[in-house]
């Protein structure tokens, strides 16, 4: 066992716990059966809004699109007084300075996907300079992708070192490590990748890029949350979680919050420790909040498009 400092002993990742496939899916489906009363639902929906990383990661992104998204982050639905803002805007590194300027000192963070997102197929020096570019432009958070190919080949040390190197390049920015669980296939591998990321210095572990299907699912998120819990018990260090992709309905978001509460507890129930990577979720949450406020089912026509 190698030791990188006094407190953190690096375990043998090939010995990461095996996951009970049936058990974890059954457990995850239980979270969807909780009865949530109206007032709690409204609180949960507002919390959900506050946890969203409003995301645009398209080849066709323009400065205008990013500015528009930043405006939306600050003005989710002005007709509804007292709404929180989203947690962050998630963009490509080239858009960081635009987003940073548009958001000003609003408190909404700028997250940048770096390290040759979404494939991660680039040499390490390119990934590091990609990261540094984003950080130099003012990114508060970096979303990196792991080298899934190397991971699947069993090159765990390579993946570990890469995450550690990016973490170093991040400086004060918080690092989210995207496992791209849709390409890892089994829960065992998700758990192993989670362990590697956390020991290597991740501040967040994140399910997916949103470019691969399946993206975030409840069972995969549960496996990662349990990895966070075990890591916390072992080291006393809290790690944040970000499911991303495929969460577009309020109801599903509430199920995730139930899962978070029942797996990690109250301390994680805020946007420092939990995020939703989503773009269309915000509008659905807003429509549900308006439904609760007015008692009338809403139409997408009355909400901003992006």
């Amino acid at each position: 066992m190698a030791v990188i400092n006094q407190t953190l002993a690096i375990p043998d990742f090939s010995l990461s716990p095996r996951i009970d496939h049936v058990g974890v899916e059954e457990r995850a489906s239980r979270f969807t059966k909780r009865s949530i009363k109206a007032e709690t639902k409204v609180n949960g929906l507002k919390l959900t809004l506050n946890m969203i990383d409003l995301t645009t990661l398209e080849g066709k992104d323009t400065n205008g699109k990013v500015k528009q998204l930043c405006y939306k982050a600050l003005h989710l639905h002005d007709a509804y007084p007292g709404l929180p803002t989203v947690a962050a805007i998630c963009v490509y590194p080239s858009m960081v300075s635009v987003a940073k300027k548009a958001l000003g000192n609003s408190g909404v963070k700028v997250a940048a996907v770096a390290t040759a997102f979404p494939s991660g197929q680039a040499p390490r020096r390119v990934k590091i300079s990609d990261t540094k570019f984003a950080v130099d432009n003012g990114a508060d958070e970096i979303d990196m992708v792991i080298s899934r190919g190397k991971f699947l080949e069993g090159e765990y040390s390579f993946v570990f070192d890469e995450i550690a190197a990016i973490k170093e390049a991040c400086g004060n920015a918080r690092l989210k490590v995207i496992l791209e669980t849709g390409e890892l296939v089994t829960y065992d591998k998700v758990r192993r990748a989670s362990d590697i990321a956390m020991y290597a210095g991740a501040d967040f572990i994140k399910t997916s890029t949103g470019k691969v299907s399946p993206a975030a699912t409840m069972p995969v998120t549960l496996v990662m949350l349990e990895a966070i819990r075990d890591f916390y018990y072992k080291t006393g260090k809290m790690i944040a979680m970000k499911p991303a992709g495929g969460i577009s309905k309020s109801k599903l978001a509430l199920h995730y919050l139930v899962m978070l509460q029942e797996t990690l507890g109250e301390a994680w129930m805020n946007n420092h420790w939990f995020r939703f990577g989503a773009s269309s979720l915000a509008n659905d949450v807003l429509m549900q909040l308006e439904k609760e406020r007015t008692g009338v089912y809403q139409s997408a026509n009355y909400f901003s498009i992006d």
């Binding site: 009338v296 089912y297 809403q298 139409s299 997408a300 026509n301 009355y302």
Partner: protein
């Protein structure tokens, strides 16, 4: 030899091309005049309605974007399918108080009515479009376009012909709809959903719920994503409710009270289509060429 036990049909609702049970798990048992229970029928909830509107909204783009001629073909197909299941409908109508003779007449009339609107699908636009005279160099024309999602409380005193008469013109015009069947005579509505489902009508274009208008009218009238509502009774309190709630998003409130759906003269016309159409007017700049002017 043992006697065979008849296999009874489960009457379910129709949402987005699927036949789910109501999410509420509730049911009711309407009776005919002889006091016999017709069936255990889904008592739909507002959430079923919400889901149905979602399905109708999703289906609207594709349905309204189809060629009018293709919509005509599909409506014609509904009539063909209905013809093939005539006996079943007659049987259900007889169960719901009709005489055999009246039942057959109602089914025949329903088939003919669908054919009637199938014919209008690609013709009403021409009849109701116009080229308008304007005083500037513009080519100015108006065309009807479907309004969107229409919620319908089907005529309560009829099981089949009323239902068909309100659905056909709505979908002929390119709208999608959510229909609440007759509370006391819901059998034909569910069977008609099966006809729709086997007639190349895309899922979500027609959604049929069963249940109580008294519970659901409010939601049919106030949903912000519904563009028009059709109500066929004379109940003034309900009409007032519908008009008030419709004001929320200025949806069209259309009342067909006092229509005798069996009367071929008065219960079918292209105006039933245009009631749920919006008129779009386009101003297209033109040059004045030579002595020609925008003279329309």
């Amino acid at each position: 030899m043992s006697t065979r036990v008849e296999v009874l049909k489960t009457y379910k609702i129709y949402i987005g091309g699927q036949f789910p049970r109501t999410e509420s798990g509730r049911y009711y048992s309407p009776k005919n005049k002889r006091g016999e229970s017709l069936a255990n029928v889904c008592l739909s909830s507002r959430k079923d309605f919400r889901d149905a509107v979602g399905a109708a909204r999703n289906a609207f783009g594709g349905w309204s974007g189809r060629a009018a001629f293709n919509r005509a073909q599909i409506l014609y197909r509904i009539a063909e399918m209905l013809e093939g299941r005539k006996a079943q409908f007659i049987d259900e109508l007889v169960k719901q108080n009709a005489s055999a003779k009246d039942a057959e007449r109602e089914v025949n009339l329903s088939i003919d009515r669908i054919i009637y609107y199938a014919g209008w699908c690609d013709k009403f636009q021409q009849v109701f479009s116009s080229v308008n005279p304007v005083a500037s160099s513009h080519f100015n024309f108006s065309v009807p376009e479907p309004t969107g999602v229409v919620s319908i409380i089907a005529p309560q005193n009829s099981s089949l012909i009323g239902l068909v008469s309100v659905i056909a013109p709505i979908i002929a015009g390119g709208n999608t709809c959510v229909v609440l069947a007759s509370e006391d005579q819901p059998l034909c509505a569910v069977t008609f959903a099966e006809v729709i489902n086997s007639s190349d009508v895309p899922g979500g274009v027609v959604n049929i719920l069963t249940g109580k208008p008294s519970e659901l009218i409010k939601y049919f009238a106030e949903h912000m994503d519904v563009n028009a509502i059709i109500y066929c009774e004379k109940d003034d309190a309900n009409k007032k409710l519908i008009q008030e709630k419709s004001a929320l998003n200025v949806k069209r409130a259309i009342f067909y009270d006092g229509v005798n759906w069996l009367d071929e003269e008065k219960s079918q016309s292209p105006y039933f289509i245009t009631d749920t159409q919006e008129i779009k007017t386009t101003w297209h700049p033109i040059e004045t060429v030579g002595s020609a002017k925008a003279g329309y």
